[in-house]
C-alpha cells in the first residue's frame, strides 16, 4: 500500500517536472522568435558597446599609457564591454514580463496547465540565450583590439557569458515579478542596472580602490562576471590583470544565479 502511494507520488512529481520543462521550453522559444524578429534592435544594441570599446577604450587608453600603466586599456575594457552588453540585454529581456502583463499575454501563460515555475525558468533561459548571442557578436571585435582567442577560450567565454546572463535575467525576473507598470523601468535602470555596471570594474581596475568603494565592488555580483571574462580574454597584466582566480569568479556568479532563480520561481508561485 505504502509502495503504491510512493509510486503515485513519484508519477506526480515526474509529471510536474515534465510540464515545467515543456512550459519553460515553449517560453524560451518565444523569446528567441521575438529576438529574431526584432533584429534591428539587436543591431541597435550593438552600437553602445562599440562606442565604449573603441572610443572610450582608445581615448582613455592613451591617457593610461601616459600614466605609465602596463598593458593596454582597450584589451582591459574588452571584458567590461561584453559584460555591459550582457547586463543590458538580460535586464531588458526580463522586464518584458511587465510588457506581457500590460498587454495581456501574461494572462494566457498564467492560466495554462503548466507550473508557474516554468514561466520564471523559461524567461531566465530565454533572456540568457538572447544576451549570450548579443555578447558573442562582440567577440568579432577581438582581433581588432589585439585579443587572441582560440578554440578553447571561445566556448569557455560563451559558457561564462551564459552563466552571467542567466544570473542577471533571473535578477530581472525577480524585480519584474511584482512590477505592475512600465513606469518603474527608469527606477530599475537607476537603482539596479547602473550601479551594477559602474561597480563591476568593467571600466576601471579594482585592485587599488579606497575601502568604501572596494567594499561595494566586492558586493556586486557582476564584478565576478567581468573578472571571469577578463581571465579568459587575457592580454592584460600588472594593475590591469584579473583579481580573482576563475573558479572563484564562476562560483560566485553561479551561486548568485541560483539564489535569484530560486527567488524568481518562489515569487511566481505566490502570484495570484
Amino acid at each position: 500500500m505504502q509502495e503504491l502511494k510512493d509510486q503515485e507520488l513519484n508519477d506526480k512529481m515526474m509529471e510536474a517536472v515534465i510540464r515545467t520543462a515543456v512550459g519553460a521550453h515553449t517560453i524560451w522559444k518565444r523569446e528567441l522568435i521575438r529576438f529574431w524578429r526584432d533584429r534591428s534592435r539587436a543591431i541597435g544594441a550593438f552600437v553602445q558597446p562599440t562606442l565604449y570599446l573603441f572610443v572610450l577604450g582608445t581615448g582613455l587608453g592613451a591617457f593610461f599609457r601616459s600614466g605609465g600603466a602596463e598593458g593596454d586599456y582597450i584589451q582591459f575594457i574588452f571584458a567590461g564591454v561584453i559584460a555591459m552588453s550582457l547586463l543590458f540585454t538580460s535586464i531588458f529581456s526580463a522586464v518584458s514580463i511587465v510588457w506581457d502583463r500590460e498587454f495581456g499575454f501574461l494572462k494566457e501563460v498564467l492560466v495554462a496547465p503548466i507550473p508557474r515555475a516554468s514561466i520564471a525558468i523559461g524567461k531566465a533561459f530565454g533572456g540568457a540565450t538572447v544576451a549570450t548571442l548579443q555578447g558573442t557578436l562582440i567577440l568579432i571585435y577581438a582581433p581588432f583590439v589585439g585579443i587572441s582567442l582560440n578554440i578553447i577560450t571561445v566556448p569557455a567565454i560563451i559558457l561564462v557569458m551564459f552563466i552571467i546572463s542567466f544570473a542577471i535575467t533571473s535578477l530581472g525576473v525577480v524585480v519584474a515579478a511584482r512590477m505592475r507598470s512600465l513606469e518603474g523601468f527608469q527606477v530599475i535602470m537607476n537603482f539596479i542596472v547602473m550601479p551594477l555596471f559602474f561597480l563591476s570594474g568593467a571600466l576601471f581596475p579594482i585592485s587599488n580602490l579606497p575601502p568604501w568603494l572596494s567594499g561595494l565592488v566586492r558586493l556586486d555580483p557582476l564584478t565576478y562576471g567581468v573578472d571571469a571574462l577578463r581571465n579568459l580574454t587575457g592580454g592584460v597584466s600588472g594593475a590591469l590583470a584579473p583579481v580573482y582566480p576563475i573558479w572563484l569568479d564562476v562560483g560566485a556568479v553561479t551561486l548568485f544565479g541560483a539564489m535569484m532563480i530560486t527567488s524568481a520561481v518562489w515569487l511566481f508561485n505566490r502570484q495570484e
Binding site: R19, V22, R30, I33, D38, G104, V111, A112, P113
Partner: protein, 327 residues
C-alpha cells in the same frame, strides 16, 4: 439525462471589505450555452476567474468537468478554454506562432499540432492569414483568433468573458455564428458573461446577476414570460409622478427610470386608450412591445442595466486597486 459539467455551490469572493461574489450557486449542463447577464461590476468576471482557477474563492465550492477548482486546478485548466475580456495575444508573433505556443503549453502532442492549428484557423476563417503578424489584425480578427486558440486543446468548456465587447454589430453577429456552429458541431459547453441583451438571447439559459448575487436563472423565454404580457413605455417630463399615478389607479407595477415609465400588462393594445382617457399628466410618447431581457432586469432590480455601468466599474476598480496596494 444530461450531466452537469459545472456545479457551483455558495461561491463567495471578497476583496478586502468588498464582496464581489456573494454566495452564488448554479449548475451548467454539458453542451449548454450558459450566460451570465448583469451590469459591469456585478461579479461576472470574478465568478469566471474563480471557475478558471485564476482567483481562489474566499468560500464555497465549484467543480468544472468533475474537477474541484481549488484542489485540482491543473485538471480544470486542461479541460477549459478561456477567452478573456481584454486581448491576450502576442502581436509580435504570427497567428500560427500564437496557436503553436498555446498548443505546446497545453500539452497537445507534436504530431497533432499542425493539423489542429489548421482546423481551428479554418473554423474562424483565418487560415489564409496564418503567417501574418497579429499586429496587423483588426479587433474582430484578433477575437476570432483567440476563439480558435481557446479550442486548440479540445476543451470541454469554453469560457468567454464579454466575447464581443467593443466590436461592431456586424463582427459581433459573425462571432456568434462561429460560437453557435461550434456548439452544434463539437458539443462544447459555452459559459459566457455579457451585458449585451441581444447576446444573452443566444443562450440556452441565463443567470441574471446583480451586486454579486444571482437573482434568476432560466431560459430567455422563461425569463421574459415572467415579466408577463406586453411592455408599455411612456416618456414624460414628470416620470415619477406618472409612475405613482399609474400604480395607484391600475393593477400594474410601473417603474420610473430616466424620464420614462415602463410597466407590463396583459392586453397592451386595449390598455393604451384607457390610459390616455384616464390620465392628466402630459405624456410625450408611447411605445408598446413584447418584453426583452432588459425589461426582465428592470423588473427584478428596479433599474436599467446600462445606467449604472460607469459607476459600478469605477467602484470595482477602486476597490481592486486598494486591495492590491494593501498586500
Amino acid at each position: 439525462m444530461q450531466m452537469n459539467i459545472i456545479t457551483v455551490t455558495d461561491l463567495v469572493r471578497r476583496f478586502g471589505d468588498l464582496t464581489a461574489v456573494d454566495g452564488v450557486s448554479f449548475q451548467v449542463k454539458e453542451g449548454e450555452i450558459f450566460g451570465f447577464l448583469g451590469p459591469n461590476g456585478a461579479g461576472k468576471t470574478t465568478t469566471i476567474n474563480m471557475l478558471c482557477t485564476i482567483l481562489r474563492p474566499t468560500d464555497g465550492h465549484a467543480t468544472v468537468g468533475g474537477h474541484d477548482v481549488v484542489r485540482s486546478p491543473m485538471s480544470v485548466r486542461r479541460n477549459i478554454g478561456i477567452i478573456f475580456q481584454d486581448p491576450s495575444l502576442d502581436d509580435k508573433l504570427t497567428a500560427r506562432e500564437n496557436l503553436d505556443f498555446h498548443a505546446r503549453i497545453y500539452g497537445v502532442p507534436s504530431s497533432e499540432r499542425a493539423g489542429r492549428i489548421q482546423d481551428v484557423l479554418e473554423m474562424v476563417e483565418l487560415d489564409g492569414r496564418m503567417n501574418d503578424l497579429v499586429r496587423v489584425f483588426s479587433g474582430g480578427m484578433k477575437r476570432r483568433l483567440e476563439i480558435a486558440r481557446g479550442l486548440i486543446h479540445h476543451p470541454r468548456v469554453l469560457f468567454l468573458d464579454e466575447p464581443t465587447l467593443g466590436l461592431d454589430p456586424q463582427t459581433r453577429r459573425h462571432i456568434w455564428e462561429y460560437l453557435l456552429d461550434l456548439r452544434k458541431e463539437k458539443g462544447v459547453t459555452l459559459f459566457l458573461t455579457t451585458h449585451y441583451m441581444e447576446e444573452a438571447e443566444n443562450c440556452d439559459r441565463i443567470a441574471i446577476i446583480d451586486n454579486g448575487k444571482i437573482i434568476a436563472v432560466d431560459t430567455p423565454v422563461g425569463l421574459k414570460d415572467g415579466v408577463g404580457g406586453d411592455v408599455i413605455t411612456l416618456h414624460s417630463e414628470n416620470s415619477e409622478e406618472l409612475a405613482a399615478q399609474i400604480n395607484s389607479r391600475y393593477e400594474v407595477e410601473a417603474t420610473a427610470t430616466n424620464g420614462s415609465v415602463s410597466f407590463s400588462t396583459e392586453d397592451g393594445e386595449e390598455f393604451i386608450p384607457r390610459l390616455f382617457r384616464d390620465l392628466s399628466t402630459e405624456i410625450g410618447s408611447v411605445n408598446l412591445r413584447r418584453p426583452t431581457l432588459e425589461d426582465v432586469f428592470v423588473q427584478m432590480t428596479g433599474r436599467a442595466i446600462r445606467e449604472e455601468e460607469a459607476d459600478n466599474t469605477d467602484r470595482m476598480r477602486q476597490h481592486a486597486r486598494a486591495w492590491r496596494s494593501r498586500r
